[in-house]
Symmetry: C2
Subunit: 516 residues, 2 copies
């Protein structure tokens, strides 16, 4: 390269940047904060759901690929006018659908800070972000009473936490080197078999698909009337598979099923896993932080015996999305499963690199953001005592809901409240009477009508906007599902929800009922 070339290239560079004037950044920052303050302030009074279809929303925001610059002001204004009004108000005190948690404002701001700091919590140099993540993981282990020496990793949520744990389980329990050889589920009589509850979260069979275990090699264990794993059926299935030469390798128990909040009998499952040498994994994504309540903690007895645990701070720690966590008791197993050598990562072995803790060795992601910050801030802001009271209160609110229902003649509960979930349905008083006096054919007709009716209630609810529940199917029954993972919900909200379901249900009933 000659001097001339050098100059030519230099001449091409105009030292353009994306830099913004600091006062401009401050102005935009304040405007965003103001927007969010309004959003939080209006949370109790806003409609829960937008009333546009996806197509309408896509049309509303459509624009061709932006060519030219525009001011941040203008974009923010567009965000305020077009995007924010159409948000689902997750965090609304009467949104008890799914297991959606109300995020803390400070947790949200912490995410803004984390993104501005833009740490990549895998590279050496991101020592402080690594230290905060390690501290937060230590706190989580202490909260649930898990081995303080266990390894852990923050991930996006339960799906990744369960996938990560099951990858470790598979690799550690295989009788061959999966990492090198790949999976060998073609030996029919030797396949590795995974045991899950019939109530297992959908991310577990999804993980079995990804891991090459195959959904055919999952055994769905029966549940008792409380929808908890039937341990005798579990034992029977394991023994039978062993007898047939298969390789039972892992049981997934739930500490808070997504459907009903059921907690599987962890101690008994731990015993079975020990007896038959299976990996014991607990999906505590939803229920794990119940341990913050001293009243609820005993429900989780046995979790400390798990080989691995999935637990979601973005559920009952009220952390904004995304924040999941996976823990593995044997601290070397994660590295054995995931660590890869790569010159461009590991060539730096300076005294200030974090050679001992490179989180990319613990899981799937290489680039990782600083999600520990929001957990650190939220746990410090409220402290575990207040957290415990709030979680306790969430559970009490659902028990209160059940008590209210049981005083009515036009509702029925389908499950006992477990943790903070209840399944129930609207069942008009006259139909309840009619049902009890009916023939089996008529009973079936009424049952079918109840499904139609309750399905319609969900649809009306979505348009109404004052409350939002989700639904599920238990047996053949379409039921309403209320789940409180919400620090804003109060007794008044519960009363109001029941009244509104009755109001909507009565209207639907009038609209839909035909003589039986």
């Amino acid at each position: 390269m000659t001097e001339k070339d050098d100059h030519t290239i230099a001449d091409l560079i105009h030292d353009e940047t994306f830099d913004m004037d600091p006062e401009e950044i401050r102005k935009i920052g304040y405007q965003m904060v103001d927007l969010l303050v309004e959003y939080f302030k209006d949370m109790r009074t806003s409609a829960i759901l937008p009333n546009k279809t996806l197509q309408e929303m896509s049309k509303l925001i459509y624009e061709p690929l932006p060519q030219n610059e525009q001011t941040a002001d203008k974009i923010l204004d567009e965000c305020k006018k077009k995007i924010m009004p159409e948000m689902i108000r997750i965090g609304h005190p009467r949104l008890l659908g799914w297991i959606l948690s109300s995020g803390t404002p400070v947790g949200a701001f912490a995410d803004g800070v984390a993104s501005a700091l833009n740490q990549n919590v895998s590279v050496s140099g991101a020592g402080m972000a690594t230290a905060v993540e390690l501290l937060v993981i230590d706190w989580i282990k202490e909260i649930i009473g898990y081995d303080p020496c266990a390894a852990g990793l923050l991930v996006s949520g339960g799906s990744l936490a369960n996938l990560t744990a099951l990858t470790v389980a598979r690799n550690m329990k295989a009788n061959f080197n999966v990492r090198h050889c790949g999976m060998k589920q073609d030996r029919l009589d030797k396949n590795m078999v995974l045991y899950v509850s019939k109530e297992v979260h959908v991310c577990v069979p999804k993980a079995a698909n990804i891991l090459g275990i195959g959904t055919d090699n999952i055994r769905y264990v029966n549940v008792d009337h409380n929808l908890r794993v039937d341990t005798e059926d579990l034992r029977k299935k394991i023994v039978e598979d062993q007898k047939n030469g298969l390789h039972p390798f892992c049981v997934v128990a739930s500490a808070g099923t997504v459907n009903t909040g059921a907690i599987d009998p962890l101690e008994s499952i731990a015993d079975i896993c020990k007896q038959y040498d299976l990996w014991f994994h607990v999906d505590a994504a939803y229920g794990g932080f119940a341990a913050l309540s001293s009243r609820l903690k005993p429900l989780l007895n046995g979790i400390e015996r798990a080989d691995s645990i999935a637990i979601d701070p973005h559920k009952w720690l009220f952390i904004p999305y995304e924040a999941g966590c996976v823990l593995v008791k044997n601290s070397s197993y994660m590295k054995q499963t995931f660590a890869m050598g790569a010159e461009y990562i590991h060539a730096n072995t300076s005294p200030i690199s974090n050679e001992d803790v490179d989180f990319s060795d613990y899981g799937i992601q290489l680039s990782r953001n600083f999600r520990a910050l929001k957990i650190w801030m939220s746990l410090k802001q409220y402290g575990v005592l207040k957290y415990g009271r709030l979680i306790d209160q969430n559970v009490h609110l659902i028990q209160y809901f059940a008590a209210l229902i049981n005083e009515t003649t036009d509702f029925e509960t389908l499950t006992d409240p477990c943790l903070s979930i209840i399944c129930f349905r609207f069942f008009p008083t006259d139909l309840q009477k009619m049902y009890n006096d009916s023939s089996s054919i008529q009973k079936e007709m009424i049952s079918e009508y109840l499904n139609v009716l309750n399905r319609d209630i969900i649809e009306c609810m979505r348009r109404d906007g004052r409350i939002l529940l989700s639904s599920t199917i238990l047996g053949k029954r379409f039921v309403l599902r209320a789940c409180v993972v919400n620090y804003r919900t109060t007794k008044k909200d519960i009363v109001m929800i029941l009244e509104i379901v009755r109001e909507l249900g009565s209207k639907s009933d009038k609209k839909l009922r035909k003589p039986f």
Copy 2:
């Protein structure tokens, strides 16, 4: 449940909440913005790396699990005093280590907004967040000239994007139903085989481990002197494996290798994949957005023929972590690979649910945050024309770097600059002369010394704090690696980097040199 029980439960509920006073939220929000403005303002003058060990940092922030509440003020102050000073300044104009990108301030604030809105971009109801994600994905497809009908998904980054794409590739190309049966890599003569470059990113073999393909079933294809896939070797390996009854199923090409920025010959690889019926995946995590520069776009010719693509907005779109994207040409394949039925998710089929686009059907995560917002805001703020100029400039800066080096007598480049990466090393003038006149034994001694010397430069650099490069190993040579994915870097920074490397190198040389 009697009325008395009801009252008892009601009495237990004190309607405690985590609510903060709106003005308190505003105050904290403004304080956070002020902190970040200072952080951005000081970016050019701050030390790049903290000078504490992980252990020291852990000690600095250690505290037992917080029991009691404390004010957000106090926590923020702690964040400011203990955490922020210890950040690695990713975004510093003279941090050219790894492929770490400088995030935009508006992108960072957008993450704060997204976390406050706390959308779960899988649930029906999150229609607007879904619409924004769809729009952003459409824009990305347009930028790289990909099929507008392709399906896409935002993920955490390149590791998940590649894993997601390879799961689809595996499931779609298998001669059996992987999803149900699991992987069958025990048939030795029938195993599914994956072809990658010797320069492939480490997340690809990691994916092969997770997917049960097994690293033994990866063929590492030779590279030419520019470190691009040698297509003749690729073809030879595929033919040989086919002849042996194996099942070649997928080639992973790189559009911008992490080591040197090399772009594999995409057109030729596409031809080979077509000829032998292999899935063609392109890892364009780093290089994909080079398409924003009309000058660079032709380098990516052939990418539009890929069956799937991984591309990272948190690299050359200057989006803060985490923001990756996976695209799959056949729009039904992602759903076929990942969609699971689950009552509690799909029971709602109301007119305002997004039944057509449930992103959890497209990949691994169920709960997903609103990461599209920061991409939407950043693309709108700068527009693709300015983006194109900045990316072009990043590439020119590295060419300028190469030109400067080639004018010196005490450095050598080890690769031609490709995209925005260059590998080089400090090679003192007298040693260059000595090397040329040396015997082969002496040459080897000098080579070894150069490795020691350049390794020491990296260590000194980390303590020095004014610049930061990374390093890699090419052949047996330990080399310095500079990568500009940074909108703040200017010509002056490049000149300064070279001067500082020389300064540090000369000092190290004085310290370490012994007579040969």
